[in-house]
């Protein structure tokens, strides 16, 4: 299997803060790759570097053999990477269907003149957009909300809608930023099935997740970030028993708990609650 995404020595510096330092890993086509790490480890920053929101200070991101560093977010979508957001960012006042259609439009080519003159291509693409959007809403299990406003969907359904919207851009690689955050156990199970279905449909998945059950159950391979560095990478079982990982999640002196696989999941409970705080706490240097 060929490597799809290659992250080469990516470093991201915000002023004096080194959010990412010399990150290296590869994602192979057709796998589900889990990216975990405590809050503030730099997972979302890495997502932003891959999707063109940030240009990495150093290093390069390669996709399908071609460098994509420095490209704009919309160009990166065109190349075949799409993402969801940690804090849901739907178009709140568009219906679910319209949300997904905007994603599908990324693959369409109707120009201004085509739109003005109602070219046959526009007609074809409009029909395709609708068909595709309904199919994806069905695929993600939110078809019954097709004509509800995005913001009126429940939290879990909004997450699913966001995934549908990302899939509508027909990406080769989809980046899911904490898709299970805030979901109840039943919803999490449903999400796991959905992510597997996405992979089985031929889309490679890069997943940031806090819930250890979800990430360990789903991922083919896992990388662990801490303080902007990859501290472990490999198969889920290897990573789980890695003392460095346990230290990052539970702190030093907790190595006694190393044998219990569910332990990091327990730590997850309070990290999830402080997640909101740390997300905003890391913003101020950008805000000022």
């Amino acid at each position: 299997m060929a490597s799809l995404l290659k992250i080469n020595n990516v470093t991201m510096q915000f002023g004096g803060l080194r959010a990412l330092g010399d990150i290296n890993f590869e994602i192979v086509e057709g796998e589900i790759f889990g990216l975990i790490g405590p809050n503030g480890a730099g997972k979302t920053t890495l997502f932003n570097c891959v999707t063109g929101v940030y240009a990495p200070t150093e290093g390069a991101v390669e996709f399908d053999g071609a460098p994509i560093t420095g490209k704009r977010p919309d160009q990166i979508v065109e190349i075949g990477i799409c993402r969801t957001f940690q804090q849901i960012r739907l178009f709140p006042n568009m219906t679910a269907l319209e949300n997904v259609i905007v994603g599908a439009d990324a693959r369409h080519k109707t120009s201004v003149f085509g739109a003005l003159l109602r070219s046959p291509r526009r007609k074809r693409e409009e029909a395709h957009a609708e068909e595709e959007a309904l199919r994806l809403l069905d695929f993600c299990g939110v078809k019954r909300f097709a004509n509800d406003l995005g913001r009126n969907l429940s939290y879990g359904d909004q997450r699913r809608l966001e995934i549908a919207r990302a899939l509508a851009t027909t990406p080769k690689l989809v980046l899911l930023d904490e898709p299970a955050a805030g979901m109840n156990p039943a919803e999490k199970n449903g999400l796991r099935d959905l992510v597997r279905k996405i992979r089985d449909d031929g889309t490679t998945v890069l997943l940031i997740e806090h819930d250890m059950k979800v990430v360990m159950g789903l991922s083919d391979r896992v990388a662990v970030l801490d303080h902007g560095e990859v501290i472990a990478a490999g198969l889920p079982e290897e990573v789980q028993s890695n003392p460095k990982v346990i230290e990052a999640y539970l702190g030093t002196g907790a190595s006694g708990a190393a044998g219990e696989t569910d332990e990091p999941g327990v730590a997850d409970e309070d990290t999830a609650s402080s997640q909101q705080q740390s997300a905003t706490a890391r913003q101020p240097e950008g805000k000022s």
């Binding site: 999707t51 929101v53 940030y54 240009a55 420095g70 704009r72 977010p73 919309d74 979508v77 065109e78 799409c82 993402r83 957001f85 804090q87 960012r89 739907l90 178009f91 709140p92 006042n93 568009m94 219906t95 269907l97 319209e98 259609i101 905007v102 994603g103 439009d105 990324a106 369409h108 109707t110 201004v112 085509g114 739109a115 003005l116 003159l117 109602r118 526009r122 007609k123 693409e125 409009e126 029909a127 957009a129 609708e130 068909e131 309904l134 097709a146 004509n147 509800d148 406003l149 913001r151 009126n152 919207r165 990302a166 851009t169 905003t280 913003q283 950008g286 805000k287």
Partner: protein, 429 residues
């Protein structure tokens, strides 16, 4: 769910129902002619042609030799003055349609829209003025030849304003566009080439180049000397603008604009070329005001910077807001109200004072009062587009959770956008 080839029809049939304060029946009646017009397929072009011919004849039957001596059957516009108001209204409809694209559809608050109008008018003046001293001439061309240039200059100005202001949004963009208007106006006020505040006289009227008579019909409207003849130019321009904007709205371009307005960061992550789409919105918006400027210059034959005060920028924005942000029919109605209403108030008062108050001088005040009333009872505008109607009616219906959520989202959006901009700048340097 049936598969439709026409997405708009699907959305029309399936959009969430509203429960606004004003019954939607009122909106349906007002929007009816518009909706009907777009429903009749290609027949609408024929229908448009009919409107184009019928309205000027209704307004001034004398342009047909057979109706010599007849006055218009419509009361308010009898006797010449009303026609002038109609021409101005037509120009304002064009302006409102363009501004509606920028503000209503793409969500870019533009407070200096009249600058484009002014550029269109001055371009025409430069190219066709034959009066006064020669110092401000560039060329003297027939008026009609200056139309593409007026539009081109406006589009380029739209792009020129769009590119440096792309990172700004909301209030900041409003201030910049306000400044842009003043820059354009003061430049025209101070340059010798524009003849300063004395303005440019002697602008040529368009000559459509018809022979003097066709089959017994006098075709003196080839040269647009009478006010009525201008409607032959304005109405097609408006119809064309409406069709063009509607087509854009119904395509991926229109959806992209909505997406940018809703959440710019998410839009760009979904493959929307935000920069291109914003510049496009500015350019499309500017193009209709280029046409409006060209018509205005030819109609007035004299222009000076005083013809383009800041108040006009505000009033056009008012027109768009009253009509309903993002609604094409709303923009048309808004423009009619903003230009027509003060004149109706003037006419109706007949020079008498009401409660010691002269409606003629106070008509802008009356108008301001009406604006407040409209905004209180119909915050989305008189003919709010479907999306806004749903948005506003539901915001009132379910407070609590939704309000909290959207507040949080907004905060997040601010933080996100700040970091985005900062890193972009970092990337540029």
């Amino acid at each position: 769910m049936a598969q439709n080839t026409n997405l708009r029809v699907y959305l029309d049939n399936n959009y969430p129902k509203t429960s606004g304060r004003l019954p939607d029946g009122v909106v349906k009646v007002l929007q009816g002619p518009f909706a009907l017009w777009f429903k009749i397929g290609y027949g609408r072009y024929l229908f448009g042609l009919l409107i184009m011919i019928a309205i000027p004849i209704l307004i001034d039957p004398e342009i047909i030799p057979a109706f010599e001596g007849l006055d218009s059957p419509i009361p308010f516009i009898q006797g010449g003055f009303g026609i002038r108001v109609l021409v101005v209204t037509g120009i304002w409809i064009l302006l409102a349609l363009g501004l509606n694209v920028v503000v209503g559809m793409a969500g870019l608050l533009d407070l200096g829209y009249v600058a484009f109008f002014m550029l269109g008018a001055y371009t025409t003046a430069f190219m066709t003025s034959s009066g006064g001293d020669d110092q401000f001439h560039i060329v003297v061309w027939p008026n009609i030849a200056s139309l593409p240039f007026a539009v081109l200059v406006c589009v380029l100005a739209g792009v020129a304003l769009g590119i440096p202001t792309l990172r700004l949004r909301g209030d900041y963009l409003a201030i910049v566009t306000l400044g842009f208007h003043e820059i354009v106006r003061q430049t025209a006020n101070n340059l010798t080439i524009t003849n300063g505040s004395r303005g440019i006289p002697g602008i040529e009227r368009p000559d459509l180049g018809f022979p003097e008579s066709i089959g017994g019909f006098s075709t003196e409207f080839g040269v647009l000397s009478s006010h009525t003849y201008w409607l032959f130019l304005l109405i097609p321009a408006i119809i064309l603008a409406v069709i063009m904007i509607r087509h854009l709205e119904d395509s991926r371009i229109g959806r992209y604009w909505t997406a940018i307005r809703e959440d710019e960061v998410a839009a760009s992550a979904m493959g929307v070329p935000v920069v291109k789409m914003k510049v496009l919105a500015f350019a499309i918006g500017a193009s209709t005001s280029g046409v409006a400027g060209w018509i205005f210059a030819g109609y007035a034959t004299f222009i000076s910077p005083n013809n383009f005060p800041l108040l006009y920028s505000i009033l056009i924005l008012c027109a768009v807001v009253i009509g309903g942000l993002g609604s094409i029919s709303g923009a048309v109605l808004g423009a009619i109200l903003v230009t027509g209403l003060p004149e109706v108030v003037r006419e109706a008062s007949g020079g008498q004072t009401v409660f010691g108050f002269d409606p003629e001088t106070g008509r802008i005040a009356i108008f301001g009062f009406l604006l407040i009333v409209v905004m209180i009872f119909r915050p989305g505008g008189l003919l709010a587009p479907r999306r806004r109607r749903v948005e506003l009616s539901e915001a009132g219906a379910a407070e609590g959770v939704i309000v909290d959520e959207s507040a949080g989202k907004q905060k997040d959006q601010l933080a996100g956008s700040a970091t985005l901009t900062e890193t972009r700048q970092k990337g540029d340097t």
